[in-house]
Symmetry: C2
Subunit: 416 residues, 2 copies
């Protein structure tokens, strides 16, 4: 049986294959960058149109009541909750990932300041998405209370860096470059053993891999909705806080959406109980509303079914690339161990940037991350096994022909 | 000449009358709540559709380059700048008003901590939009450095409350309830005389009244784009910082959009120079993009022309209400003095809530604010003189017939 025939049979046997029809994908494109910006659900345009024409245009200010705008963040949070192992009423969709991270860092430090004031270290990862580090720097600099960022260089170094000075540990569950995934339960347990709180960035996890925040006894989590959740470019982010901690302190971005009596317009802040105290100001409602179109697709399947297909796709991609590109200087940096792999695969190549540009020119869209990393995201909702085959074929052709040497592929753009 | 004929002639002579066609207003509605949520520009739906279908759906991740998403906040800020007396490169549209307020409060305190560390008072207004007070409380509580909120009860009390303990003064230029407007130049001068920094909330000013931030020597300003600027429900807010202060400190919500080298993904934060250091995380691009449709309409007129019509509309409304409702317990709380009036008019009525509900049932949409305040916004881009006449006629009928006593108008909803 030819590889092509084998891939066709895998697609025929794929129980998720029909979900691809939920998405409007461009012609002639194999999209392997849903880990950066998810594809467009067909329903999103109708949802936005309804919000713009009816809720905004016709309803005008009345839509605060008739369309229940002020509870939309919580209602969408309830739809997201099962994907990350949280319960209804524990998640809100609001603001940006970075702003939400600031909230949970501040709240976590406040809790630790009461429990263990000597703990002044925030532990995170050198190879984390850098905004996570920037916001730690920003908060530590703001507080002027001696907080310091300590960096983990490799996941296996974590145990040796945990001590009685560590207040918080912020880890990205699935690393944005390597695709390495932590064992959330074991790692949270280790962090707790050392008296620190465990904060998880789920940017590359939510909708990509099964997450069980409550079973893992995590303390805080944030993440974004525009990657695997397909909420639209820059769609608002999410925040979850363990119910054990949520009402102990308030977060400092205390706006009117987080007030216990939102419309009473009282002069003093009184935080709502539960996760709505993590809301702040009025949300961008059209961008927020489209998040629902992405989440509704997940209700047609399960995270376990998605995970099974994701592993099959990434296994296949690694296998085909290694078999067909063995004469080229490619280094797999994503773990082979399923338990440590997210839903994207990264290879290093000395000319990775140019290779990715040449692939994009052929309609195979992955992306590039410094240094030398070619990143390919596999989104089981809309990626087929034949897509994987075609992407590898394009990679083989670009490498074998050295097409990446062409000058137009060498010019640097600011690809995210 | 009948009042009706007079109003018709005012509309015929109105040089801005044609701008109403830029908006999609619902049939049978007189909309006097553009000070809470602006009406829908006709162009907004096409702009959103283009962003959803083309930029997101077809362009996918490539749109970061081809649609220049990462500079959209600054490009729209440049379009807004002339409306508030700022220069190109000094304004960004990003995040929410509350989040932006947190940024400028933190930055202003940091500047004062270096200049005059004994100054621990943040002065603001008891009758400010309460989120402004909540975020001051949130920041003061976070910092644990002895900062305190001191409240001004009436604008005329400001001079007596300024002393050498005051670090920052946060004033809302046009009060959201009374419609009172400060003299920005004189007030900023007074604040500076006392060694404090002047922070202006322009939520009810931007697009409503001429603002000259630089001429007034203001230090910081924030505001929203979904009221008079017609950006859409919850559209992202704006922030301006005096160029004299901007690069002196960084704001603590230090995300990747505010980094000097946004796409370099460096592990340490280095703020961009200029106002882009006030950016934080990825913005909700569809909601952000629609802001442009609102701003483009302002390019067809001038803030002075809008101000002339706004004063004529509010004068007319006050005159007609006072003439025709004199047997009812209405109290004007908006200043008669043009120099102290924004673009909305508020009357107190003991049953204000029910009266507003009865008006809305007749298609005259104003809103209600505790306690007893009926608020009517006049947006010269789409409000006609005949609208004012029809609104007053509806008010007369509701009051004369005591229709507000009907039970359905007494039930409280959470109107914003």
């Amino acid at each position: 049986m030819s590889t092509q025939q084998h891939l066709r049979e895998l697609d025929l046997a794929d129980p998720l294959a029909a979900l691809r029809d939920e998405f409007a994908l461009p012609e002639g494109v194999i999209y392997l960058d849903g880990n950066s910006l998810g594809a467009r659900p067909r329903a999103a345009l109708a949802r936005a149109t309804q919000m713009i024409e009816q809720e905004w245009g016709e309803g005008l200010i009345r839509s605060w009541n008739t369309a229940q705008w002020s509870t939309l963040s919580a209602r969408l949070g309830d739809k997201l909750a099962p994907l990350i192992g949280a319960d209804s009423g524990e998640v809100v969709i609001t603001d940006t990932t970075t702003v939400n991270l600031f909230k949970i860092l501040a709240a976590g430090l406040r809790i630790q300041a009461e429990r263990a004031p000597q703990r002044k270290i925030i532990l995170s990862e050198l190879h984390n998405f850098p905004a996570d580090l920037y916001v730690i720097e920003g908060l530590a600099d703001l507080l002027q209370q001696g907080y310091e960022l300590r960096l983990i260089e490799r996941p296996q170094d974590l145990p040796g860096l945990l001590d009685d000075q560590v207040a918080l540990v912020l880890l990205t569950h699935v690393n944005y470059k390597s695709g390495h995934m932590y064992d959330m339960t074991a790692t949270t347990g280790l962090i707790h053993q050392h008296g620190a709180l465990a904060l998880w960035d789920l940017a590359h996890s939510a909708g990509a891999v099964p997450v069980q925040l409550k079973a893992a006894k995590a303390d805080y989590a944030i993440g974004c909705t525009y990657k695997y959740l397909n909420g639209g470019p820059g769609s608002p982010a999410f925040v979850w806080v363990s119910p054990d901690l949520c009402d102990q302190v308030w977060q400092p971005l205390s706006g009117w959406w987080g007030h216990a009596r939102q419309f009473a317009m009282e002069p003093h802040y009184a935080p709502a109980s539960g996760i709505t105290r993590y809301l702040c100001g009025t949300q961008p409602l059209v961008s927020l509303g489209m998040v629902e179109s992405g989440l509704d697709i997940f209700a047609k399947t399960s995270m376990q079914a998605l995970r099974n297909k994701s592993l099959a796709l990434t296994d296949l991609f690694i296998e085909l690339v290694e078999a067909r590109c063995k004469d080229h200087p490619l280094t797999l940096i994503t773990p082979r161990d399923h338990a440590q792999r997210g839903s994207h695969v990264s290879f290093e190549h000395p000319e990775g940037y140019a290779v990715v540009q040449a692939l994009i020119a052929r309609g195979v869209i992955g992306d590039y991350r410094e240094p030398r990393i070619m990143r390919f995201g596999f989104t089981p909702l809309y990626t087929s096994f034949q897509d994987v085959g075609a992407a590898v074929q394009a990679l083989v052709e670009v490498l074998d022909s050295q097409q990446w040497r062409e000058p137009q592929f060498q010019t640097r753009h600011s690809v995210t």
